[in-house]
């Protein structure tokens, strides 16, 4: 499949001016300055935005799931709100929090400007609540949804579907002012529940092919020499294929590795070709992996 990559470096100010004149609903997403986007994904993002549906992204770590949300927010100039899901999280925490302790203290000492009899002053919006209350359209990234249990996931989708939630303490229903663009990411190979999937669009981001990876590297290092690019990417894929590695290095590690190689004045590309890989610690972060890689790179020929 042909993959056209679009990356533009647009001056932030110029763009934000232009954006103000447009309504966000007609905006199309086409990539951002540090994000390489394949056309297929751009299409899916645009469809999801037009249908006002959350987009569920799966894929192994390092394929840029989280980066996509950042890229959308940058390119469409919307504010990004990130909800990092934790295993112990309750849905209500993501919506709002009733700060009882502060209220208790206020009523006790009476030295704050808040009105103790007005509960609403002690309600703080959670991440989902913030995205609903925002006057402009925002990008809401719900990161690593698979960490939470199934009930959380289903209940959250109900809220996102109806675009409203109740605050029990003050008996009020909060409706979203502008429907946010919702991106949900998941690492798990296990499927999420059916009702959940039914309400999302789905895309699986495969680990980038070497060609794609070269482009990604070039975006981060615009003036990298061809030799280093070629051999480091090739070495990287060889090392990803090492057997028995627990945590395979991903895009982030490659970028950092190249940064390390470039920072070293003594480094010579020929080293890589000979199978002498410096700074393996940047690529392999677990000590058994590191030891295994150490042992096997000597035998690698690239």
């Amino acid at each position: 499949m042909m993959i056209r990559t679009i990356y533009k470096k647009i001056s932030f100010l110029a763009r934000s001016k232009r954006m103000q004149n447009q309504t966000s609903a007609t905006d199309k997403f086409a990539g951002a300055s540090k994000y390489i986007l394949d056309e297929e994904l751009a299409q899916i993002v645009n469809i999801s935005m037009a249908l006002e549906m959350p987009l569920l992204l799966k894929g192994e770590p390092g394929t840029g799931k989280t980066m996509l949300a950042h890229a959308i927010s940058e390119s469409l100039n919307m504010r990004l709100i990130v909800l990092n899901v934790k295993s112990s999280m309750k849905l209500v925490e993501a919506l709002y929090q009733y700060d009882t302790l502060t209220r208790l203290n206020d009523s006790r000492f009476g030295d704050s400007k808040r009105d103790v009899s007005n509960i609403e002053e002690y309600i703080k919006m959670g991440k989902i609540g913030q995205s609903f209350m925002s006057e402009e359209r925002v990008v809401l990234l719900i990161d690593e949804i698979d960490k939470a249990d199934t009930d959380f996931q289903d209940d959250m989708l109900d809220v996102l579907d109806q675009m409203e939630f109740d605050i029990i303490e003050i008996d009020k229903t909060k409706r979203a002012k502008k429907r946010p663009v919702i991106i949900i990411t998941s690492n798990a190979k296990k499927d999420l529940s059916d009702p959940f999937l039914g309400r999302c669009n789905f895309h699986h981001i495969a680990f980038p092919e070497p060609d794609m990876m070269r482009r990604i590297v070039q975006v981060h290092f615009p003036d990298i020499s061809k030799d280093i690019l070629e051999s480091s990417v090739r070495a990287f894929y060889k090392m990803r294929d090492l057997r028995g590695i627990e945590k395979k290095p991903a895009t982030r590690e490659l970028i950092n590795w190249i940064r390390a190689l470039q920072a070293d004045p003594d480094f010579n590309v020929k080293q890589l070709v000979k199978g002498d890989m410096p700074y393996l610690g940047v690529l392999f972060k677990k000590s058994p992996d590191y030891a295994m890689a150490r042992n096997s790179v000597a035998r690698l020929k690239i």
């Binding site: 299409q43 469809i47 296990k190 499927d191 039914g198 895309h203 699986h204």
Partner: protein, 397 residues
Amino acid sequence: MFTSFFYLLRQVGIPVSPTSFLRLQRALGKGLINSIDDFYTAARAILVKSERYFDLYDQVFAHHFKGAELKDPEEFELDQVARAMLEEWLKDPKGMADALGMDENELSKLSPEELLQYFLDRLKEQTEEHHGGKKWIGTGGTSPVGHSGYHPGGMRVGGVSRNKSAVKVAMDRRYRDYSQEGPLTQAQIGEALKRLRNLVPSGPMDQVDVDETIYQTMKNAGEIEIIFRRSLKDRLKVILAIDNGGWSMDPYIAVVQTLFNYARAQFKELKTFFFHNTIYDNIWEDPSRYRKPHSIDELMRRDPDTRVIIVGDASMAPYELMSTDGSIHIEERSTKPSLERLKFIADTFSHSVWLNPKMEVEWPYTRTISVIREIFPMFELTIDGLEEAVQHLMSKN
């Protein structure tokens, strides 16, 4: 529009819902889809909810819109098996040639494509399901090619999880369901083991104890007194013993590693030991089972509340289990038969389970599995099995 496409997707087994189909219609109605490429991506994002079905979707799409031949599932699977055989051949030409009863030199003359065709033909000759015979390729038999078999020089074909596609094992519809579950991942194991917790207070006092706060406040004549407690942390002690020897466990290494990784991150006190096939006088702390032996009698000094999890396929020659000096390692002499040792462990630690990476349906065919099952409650090393095992480990008695 595209109703027949929708039904074809359903027919091949992709779970597409009418709601999502209507949604696709909405996207079409909005003029968002202007070309066949657009349709391809949009329909996939809206209709197909798991990457497992992407391949199937591609096939259906090509069939529907480009007139490509839709392989019937049977043939598709054969293709997978033949490919797996080719991989094996590349790794170990001699073993494969022997297994097929062919001359290695003759086979090596063939190009990879021809070889693939040869394997495919060989598989097709066999028209019915075949498990337990001697010649054909299937599962559970003494046939040299296939998997879970007992041919000494035999090899496993397929059945090893691959990067994306689910586990595919030769010719056997039973495994369809299993493949749907996908290989065990760390997250799944985490989900299952999460319930294996014994919480006790530890760490800083940062949790408000509401009941106690109210009580103390009342006692204080209404002057508020907030009481903090320590939060609960897991202090469960776990012994994990892993069978890491021999080719019979090889296919399961990845799964066991995942289990091991999770356990290491999860429990406060975890001891991991290794053994080969079964347990004699010693188990080892080092995976090479050489440097750090740990006597079984020593285990008695541990807290009897410790949970013992043994992972192994429990498949071996009966004498290895029943007789004194049963170990297949010549240097490993034992005073008691392994059976006694296992009983000793089961008696010492009332909460112990045996996890078997083999599927439960295969258990009755191996004698030693039945024997060990009488000593330890045995569970499959799958999500369901793990959950049952955890339930057993958490039970009071």
